[in-house]
């Protein structure tokens, strides 16, 4: 796991360690099963066309879960994720599979973020972040924000 991040280590503008993800058709089926969201919009090409999105799209909730991982990877076990929000602005299309396990070449998504505010409240050391999922063209398809409590180096 990542090195421990303390409240004193971050400033406004500090970047969160980015997280790369490759959405594949296989992954969307896995997500459908694991989350229990069986909307055919995410695996049935004809249905997706009829719905006007052209082809199956990546679940918004999967991108939201990636952003959750972005934050929990960064803050580690000593930090606490208190709030997470995001908006599903742009549609993302998964890579198709070349073999049973390997996707074709194509887009890689990056989950990124940076610190927008830090403050103390009661006994907590809080950090607000702007976060987003960015597609292969660098467009933020899923912008959001997060609030975390970080451990401090100060003696209590």
């Amino acid at each position: 796991m990542a090195k421990k991040v303390y409240y004193e280590d971050v400033e406004v503008g500090t970047e969160i360690i980015p997280l790369a993800k490759i959405a594949t058709t296989r992954m969307l089926v896995q997500w459908a099963g694991a989350s229990g969201d069986f909307n055919p919009l995410h695996y049935d090409g004809e249905f997706a066309k009829a719905m006007g999105v052209g082809a199956p799209i990546v679940h918004g909730a999967l991108k939201r879960a990636w952003l959750g991982q972005l934050m929990t990877d960064w803050i580690g076990e000593q930090g606490k994720l208190k709030k997470l929000s995001c908006q599903y602005r742009g549609m993302d299309y998964p890579r198709r599979m070349k073999t049973r396990e390997e996707p074709h070449d194509g887009e890689t998504w990056w989950c990124k973020g940076k610190v927008t505010k830090k403050y103390e409240e009661g006994s907590e050391h809080l950090v607000e972040c702007e976060i987003w999922v960015e597609n292969g063209k660098g467009e933020k398809t899923t912008p959001g924000s997060a609030l975390v409590a970080l451990p401090t180096r100060k003696r209590k």
Binding site: Q30, Q69, L81
Partner: protein
Amino acid sequence: MAEGSLITDELRKLIGVTLETIVFKVEEGAIQRYAQAIGDSNPLYNDPDFASKTKYGRLLAPPGFTGWPVKAGRPTDKLFEFLVKGGAPPRLLDGGVEFEFIEPVGAGDVLTATTKIANITERETRLGKTMFTTVEITFVNQKGDVALKSWSTLIQF
């Protein structure tokens, strides 16, 4: 009802109404499959032995996992039908989600999820006249503590 408003009197009456209360068991295998589907190899979500030795004392669920099927932050078909029956426009988009995490959720927890319509608003967007419904779900754990809350925005046009 205002002239040309999408929010019918019937819909307005739904604001604040509790739609349903469902009980979810948070199972170890379901947590592991969810973490695998995210591609998150954090041992807190994948390795029960490791997790049991941490302050959580059990396999921890990734943020937003509330038992299978995952209901947090997701507008359900039932809700959609309910709104359309009330006169809401038939085309639907999932606008986004907000979570507040209060208590950890882990294997063996039992969550009681109460869904209510927190608000319905409308405004002109590039989709035309558009209605926004905020659905609030509160998850209370077996100790009676609120573990998390989610708000999702349903866009109809």
